[in-house]
Symmetry: C2
């Protein structure tokens, strides 16, 4: 596979959009890197280790009826077998709980730092840290 870190980054969001836990599991690093996996969902505490991270995805996917991402401001820096991708996640979601079953759509902006590692020729996600943009004096 000739896919680079940007394609791996796109696959991460595609797996979330598809609500496909197997696909999401394939995105995240495994084997020797499993213990080093970490993930911060927006507003959440730090989750550590592949198992804990994938459990969170099972929970999130079970509670997300619809989510769509438009990524902007994506940057990608490759350092040997590691790559750091940053982007802004512009989301459109429908959440049963939030909408009271009306299918109400909500938008939001999240900034994300994603660290990928190349292992067995594939780029896999080692670190995801997403956080809400709450507004700052430097907000553009």
């Amino acid at each position: 596979m000739a896919d680079g870190p940007q394609e791996a980054n796109a696959e991460y969001y595609a797996a979330f959009e598809a609500g496909d836990l197997d696909r999401m599991g394939d995105v995240w690093a495994d084997g020797a890197f499993a213990d080093g996996v970490s993930c911060v969902h927006p507003g959440w505490p730090m989750l550590r280790g592949r198992d804990e991270v994938l459990r969170s995805w099972a929970l999130i996917m079970a509670n997300t009826t619809y989510i769509q991402f438009v990524l902007t401001d994506t940057t990608c820096d490759v350092y040997g077998d590691h790559a750091i991708v940053t982007c802004k996640e512009n989301t459109l979601t429908a959440d049963e709980e939030d909408s009271g079953g009306t299918g109400f759509l909500a938008g939001g902006s999240i900034v994300a730092t994603n660290v990928f590692v190349r292992t067995d020729g594939r780029w896999r996600l080692l670190v995801h840290h997403g956080s809400p943009i709450l507004g700052t004096p430097e907000d553009e």
Copy 2:
């Protein structure tokens, strides 16, 4: 210098506590890594590049009368010349604006992902991503 990434991580918070912009500038990666520097302060958008990041620190330090960190849950994974440090920042702050000049102290919890790069034998900060813990079902 035999300092490892954990010592570099501690120096980052010490520089912030000291309100010392020169020291903070020394913590962050420079030279070939300057453009790859990125920083997300809690609730802020993504800042990219050493210059933009250090400008934000000048602003933050000018508006912080007192801050103290107690780091917990620190982990450190080294991958060659890169290292990923995660920690929980338990902060105690006094902010003129928030306190109305009364010196009121506020506490808070932030989760941070810090990526360090070893260059010229020193570990320097390449990525900082901090985000507020807003409370989740998995909150411990």
